[in-house]
């Protein structure tokens, strides 16, 4: 009996942590469909922020347009809800003006990689200390299931009703190649690991990307016969391989699987720090 009560109280504490970060007067439930992965990512992000002990006022959450981009509306941080694809550009302005702030961009595959693709590669290249959390559900959810840059080749969407003829992006490879100094991938099935990946990303000084593979059962799942939210989460469990385990697998065994965990990390100097060095050096000359 005592054990049960203890478990209950631990669970209550855990959920209280999340509730502490909601905007006090925001009406719930959220705009997201029942079973959407966005809520899982939101609670993992809150727990990561709580663990790192950031104050609400020092966190700035920036988003663009799409289902994912509704997240800052619910959370009690400084927030900027910006134009489609441009969250990273707005966030660059915030970080540069207030380098002490923890700037988090929450974005989706359409927002970040299609209309915002240019801003994404340049934020990576600049290595500015922003954490981008890219929830990749392989489709445009909010506008009703159109093909995005991560819609896999051959997949069905409302704009690719006979199968996508284009090749999809791997956002992690793209970020690494463009110069991001921390790149990780998680899924909405692996929640403790996701929380750790986000914690690491937030703690990293430089541009960090966490790609979160998530489920849009409403559009992607339905159009591609992937079943409900639970079966899509189970598929993430079955098809993902940790970076440690992948080392022991042959290319044949990795066929159809994707990597999760920290995929890249380096200690290249962060943009604001580098900029300050130039200022200090030249102001000293006067």
């Amino acid at each position: 009996m005592a054990t049960v009560e203890k478990t209950k109280s631990v669970e209550k504490q855990k959920s209280d942590v999340v509730l502490n970060y909601f905007r006090p007067r925001k009406k719930l439930p959220t705009v997201w469909c029942a079973g959407c992965g966005n809520g899982i990512v939101m609670s993992a992000l809150i727990r990561a922020i709580d663990k790192l002990g950031y104050s609400k006022d020092e966190v700035a959450m920036v988003s663009g347009i799409g289902c994912t981009s509704r997240m800052p509306i619910y959370l009690d941080f400084s927030a900027l809800h910006t134009t489609h694809g441009r969250a990273l550009a707005f966030a660059t302005g915030i970080k540069f003006a207030k380098p002490h702030m923890k700037v988090i961009v929450i974005t989706g595959d359409g927002d970040c990689l299609a209309i915002g693709g240019n801003h994404f590669i340049h934020a990576c290249r600049r290595n500015i200390d922003i954490t981008a959390i890219l929830i990749n559900n392989h489709i445009y959810g909010m506008t009703g299931g159109q093909g995005s840059p991560t819609t896999p080749s051959g997949s069905i969407s409302t704009t690719t009703p006979y199968g996508n003829v284009e090749k999809n992006f791997d956002p992690c490879k793209l970020a690494e190649a463009a110069g991001a100094s921390f790149v990780a991938r998680g899924t909405v099935y692996h929640t403790p690991q996701l929380e750790k990946a986000i914690t690491k990303a937030l703690d990293h000084n430089g541009f960090s990307l966490v790609e979160v593979i998530s489920n849009c059962h409403t559009y992607y799942g339905r159009l591609n016969r992937r079943g409900d939210a639970v079966s899509m989460l189970n598929a993430f469990k079955e098809n993902s391989v940790t970076t440690a385990k992948a080392k022991k697998l042959s290319p044949e065994e990795m066929e159809g699987k994707f990597l999760i965990g920290t995929l890249h990390e380096d200690d290249r100097t962060e943009f604001c720090d580098e900029y300050q060095k130039v200022v200090d050096a030249h102001m000293g000359e006067k």
Binding site: G85, G117, T158, T160
Partner: protein
């Protein structure tokens, strides 16, 4: 053939009947269902066109500039922020004299965020060199898109057909869908005199010195000056072929009107029903429905203007610092025509707020009692 369709479906149907060859679009509410339907019928082979899925509205218009330069018929649809993102290329399309046709589903401009209807998105593009049409019914959308291709290709001026987000885009009406052979007879394939052609190579839009640039602009202006004639002629021929006609300014209950209201889009249909009811109770109120912003059909207004009537424009848009754009444009055009006539300005319905019958009756009361501000903005339904 009669069918029930939403405003957005009417667009897709018109694009199909117009035998468009290249379509490129990016999702944005409330336009999305147009491009979804088009991608579906391009994919199924129901329509022999190429649908290009792109990464932004800017790329959608860039794709059409490329395609249209080869002499094919092109189409896109967008709304609000998407239209604004295209703006650089809107100038390009008109400067390059490409007859692109676009549907803009009217939605207010952020910030703050909204997805609901007003016309600030399209009216703010009035200097980009596009013809602009405003529809109030799904049938009119279908007919206007078909006519737009003919007008654009005749004048070599791009054409924007606008309808109100949600009020029209997502509501259903019975439409008379013309037969394909009827549309083919009315709208033959595009014949581009100047195009990218490997057999006859040309270069377009290259660097232009001050000695030549103004002449390019002059020719665009000259084409706009003959636009109303081409538009009127196209709609006359459309009426002969299909039995339905439209005028640049449509007049309702204007005989002996003491109050004349000017409106466009879905607001005009509310004005129409209110005016009809007011006429039944003996009040002399009329409606002039403005179907175009570019070119502004001032002759149509002058034709129906009875001397002494109180004239008012209801604008569902705002150019901060001046006011409603239809009002400003009309005042300037009347002045240009040497007509000194008071135009009262009413601004309302921004960001999707309803312009109700009660609002319209109040506008009429204010005009009748002379309590409306004769010079400044009269706000409709504003909480302050």
């Amino acid at each position: 053939m009669n069918r029930v369709m939403s405003g957005n479906e009417a667009v897709s149907q018109a694009v199909k009947l117009s035998r468009v060859q290249v379509i490129s679009a990016y999702p944005i509410t409330p336009q999305t269902s147009i491009s979804e339907k088009l991608s579906e019928i391009c994919g199924s082979g129901e329509m022999d066109a190429k649908f290009v899925k792109v990464e932004s509205e800017h790329s959608a218009m860039a794709t059409l500039i490329g395609a249209s330069s080869t002499g094919v018929r092109t189409f896109t649809a967008t709304s609000s922020q998407g239209l604004a993102l295209m703006q650089e290329l809107l100038f390009w399309v008109s400067g390059a004299r490409l007859p692109v046709v676009m549907v803009n589903v009217n939605r207010a401009m952020a910030a703050p965020w909204t997805i609901w209807c007003d016309q600030t998105d399209s009216v703010s593009q009035r200097d980009t060199g596009w013809l602009q049409f405003y529809c109030w019914s799904n049938q009119e959308i279908l007919d206007s898109v078909i006519c737009a291709f003919r007008i654009a290709e005749e004048l070599l001026i791009p054409c924007m057909v606008c309808h109100d987000g949600f009020f029209i885009s997502h509501t259903h009406e019975v439409l008379d869908i013309p037969e394909q052979n009827q549309v083919d007879a009315f709208l033959p394939p595009r014949k581009a005199e100047y195009k990218l052609d490997t057999a006859n190579p040309r270069t377009f839009s290259g660097g232009t010195m001050p000695s030549m640039f103004m002449e390019f602009r002059y020719k665009v202006q000259a084409a706009f000056e003959r636009a109303q004639g081409v538009i009127d002629q196209t709609y006359e021929q459309f009426e002969q072929a299909f039995g339905r006609g439209y005028h640049a300014v449509e007049a309702y209950y204007t005989d002996g009107a003491e109050i004349l209201l000017i409106a466009s889009g879905s607001a005009a249909s509310t004005v129409y029903h209110t005016v009809r009811q007011m006429r039944e109770s003996g009040r002399k109120v009329g409606l002039l429905r403005m179907r175009q912003l570019r070119p502004l059909p001032v002759e149509g207004v002058l034709k129906h203007l009875t001397d002494g009537a109180a004239l008012a424009v209801i604008d569902r848009n705002l150019s901060p610092g001046t006011g409603g754009v239809f009002t400003q444009e009309l005042r300037a055009a009347l002045h240009r025509n040497g007509v000194d006539y008071r135009v009262h300005e009413f601004v309302g319905g921004l960001g999707g707020r309803d312009i109700t019958a009660a609002d319209i009756e109040k506008i009429c009361d204010d005009l009748e009692n002379k309590t409306a501000d004769p010079a400044g903005i009269n706000w409709v339904g504003l909480n302050r």
